[in-house]
């Protein structure tokens, strides 16, 4: 065998090897996706076809001789043979033209294909597969699924560690609420559909301390904020007293909330997070957009993940 062909084969094998390594050990991978397979096959075919076709002609440079009848004309001493068309080339040209015409007239005539139709089928198939498979996933699997959603959808704002990007831009999800938020909410009230309804929380002009019989004071706000942000743990603190006097009527004595009245502010709760994802939230930290493109399973899962963040400790 000629040395050139040997080289061609070596390069082709190297190409296949490199492809195998890239596809196999890189992120991504074929995933049984026909589109991926075609792309990789295309890349491999491209290299191999080009190499062997060119080798064929290089061989002719090495062993063949120029021949044929020269045309009469010459331009700046460049002559021209009257050779016939290379047969393989001519046949393939004809072949592709026939194929092209077939494609339009018989294969896929003008309106035979709809990319949106194809999309709808793909989506339906995807949904059917995963809905069935994961309809009942719960517990740690649900948290895992939630983490996968979190890493794609939420990191951009809440950061990889879910600490809210240094707390400049988004809420720190490793704690239920920050002191800043509590103060803000008590001062300004809140109306973010955290309960899924329009139910608002009044601002400080609507917050009476049952113990003192007066509106909540600046000092009390500071105290209660520290208490709530601390996870309502320090039950002997001044804040705890304020909480019992002002907040517990709605949020419950333990801060775990009451259905239809006020949300859980002691721990993360599934419905609260889902409500935030459905409606977004505008608070003192900033604006959290509604995450409309997640489906309900994904919302449930990511909520489970967020809840898991504070349960580890």
């Amino acid at each position: 065998m000629n040395k050139l062909y040997l080289w061609g084969i070596i390069i082709a094998i190297a190409m296949l090897g490199a492809t195998y390594v890239t596809v196999g050990y890189q992120k991504g991978g074929l995933n049984g996706d026909i589109v991926n397979m075609l792309a990789v096959a295309g890349a491999v075919a491209l290299v191999i076809i080009t190499i062997f076709v060119v080798i064929k002609y290089v061989r002719q440079m090495q062993v063949d001789q120029a021949s044929g009848e020269l045309a009469d004309e010459s331009w700046d001493n460049i002559g021209e043979y009257k050779n016939e068309l290379p047969m393989g080339w001519a046949l393939m040209f004809l072949g592709t033209m026939v194929w092209g015409m077939w494609y339009f007239l018989a294969g896929y005539p003008v309106n035979a294909y709809s990319q949106i139709g194809e999309y709808n089928e793909d989506v339906a198939a995807h949904d059917a597969k995963f809905e069935k498979e994961y309809a009942s996933i719960t517990g740690s699997r649900l948290v895992e699924m939630g983490e996968s959603v979190y890493l794609v959808e939420c990191v951009a704002c809440h950061g990889l560690n879910a600490d809210g990007n240094n707390e400049v831009d988004a809420a720190d999800l490793n704690a239920r609420v920050s002191e800043k938020t509590v103060k803000y909410v008590v001062n300004h009230g809140s109306n973010n559909k955290l309960l899924g309804t329009e139910m608002p929380m009044p601002d400080r002009n609507g917050l009476f301390n049952a113990e003192t019989g007066a509106l909540i004071t600046d000092k009390e706000i500071d105290e209660v904020a520290a208490f709530v942000a601390g996870g309502l743990k320090d039950t002997n603190s001044a804040g705890a007293k304020v909480f019992a006097g002002v907040c517990s009527s709605c949020h419950g004595p333990d801060g775990k909330g009451m259905e239809y009245v006020a949300p859980d502010i002691a721990t993360w709760s599934q419905p609260l997070i889902v409500n935030v994802l459905n409606n977004g939230k505008v608070g003192t930290i900033g604006k959290m957009p509604a995450m409309d493109r997640l489906n309900s399973k994904q919302k449930e899962a990511v909520a489970a993940y967020v809840i898991s963040l504070t349960q580890g400790e």
Partner: protein, 230 residues
């Protein structure tokens, strides 16, 4: 015949021209006949949004960002509903892009916010540590060119019949009117009103001060534009 053509350059050139012009006639003209009509809910750009769009173009954001969501599950999961022809009815030029060094932005207004853009445009790595997007800090100090934005709106209205000051149908059955200023001064005033709404959610004190003085930094216009991409 070909030998003859090769000796008669004029006819040769005519022949080439006919052969190359043919395809354009068949492929392009039919689409123009059914000129893309806006889908319901698509409104003409406001003055500030156009100024932002011009800033987007000036800085070739389209070199890295597409605005075309293809109908694949993986894209609609990531970016939202696939793009529709009529959504681009007021886009001159179109900004589909051809390379996604960064993510698609056609619906970025749905899942990013003013504050986020403010931080991100100033210093992308502060928000996304491994981002390779350049920062655009000068947009916070250069003012948007509202005159040119206004001229562009006028051109769109006068030459292409873009429906400013006319009710356009919205998805919920209502109508919206996008106003076009009667004069440069009015266009400025309207843009400033819009800018104030954007700036209310921003932190940068210099930008806030500038708007308070009646100036409109490019970043404000750009964010108004990004927020409208939905």
């Amino acid at each position: 015949m070909f030998h003859w053509l090769e000796k008669h350059p004029f006819f040769f050139a005519v022949g080439v021209f006919v052969v190359i012009a043919f395809a354009g006639l068949i492929e392009i003209v039919p689409n123009f006949a059914q000129a893309s009509r806006p889908v319901i809910g698509t409104t003409p750009y406001s003055t500030l949004e156009i100024a932002g769009r011009q800033a987007y173009i000036k800085n070739s954001c389209n070199a890295c960002h597409s605005q075309l969501i293809r109908p694949f599950k993986s894209e609609t999961d990531r970016y939202g509903h696939y793009s529709l022809s009529g959504e681009y009815a007021y886009d001159r030029p179109f900004l589909w892009g051809s390379k996604r060094t960064g993510p698609d932005l056609h619906r970025v207004g749905n899942y990013r916010t003013t504050e986020w853009h403010e931080n991100h445009m100033k210093d992308p790595q502060a928000i996304v540590p491994t981002s390779i997007m350049p920062g655009y800090p000068w947009m916070f100090t250069t003012n948007a060119d509202i005159d040119t934005a206004y001229a562009e709106q006028l051109t769109a209205a006068q030459f292409f019949g873009v429906p400013y000051n006319k009710p356009v149908p919205m998805k919920d059955g209502s109508t919206t009117v996008v106003k076009l200023g009667n004069s440069i001064a009015e266009a400025h005033a309207m843009a400033l009103e819009e800018a104030k709404a954007v700036v209310a959610n921003m932190k940068d004190q210099d930008v806030k001060d500038a708007v308070a003085r009646g100036e409109i930094p490019e970043i404000v216009a750009l964010i108004a534009y990004l927020n409208r991409l939905k």
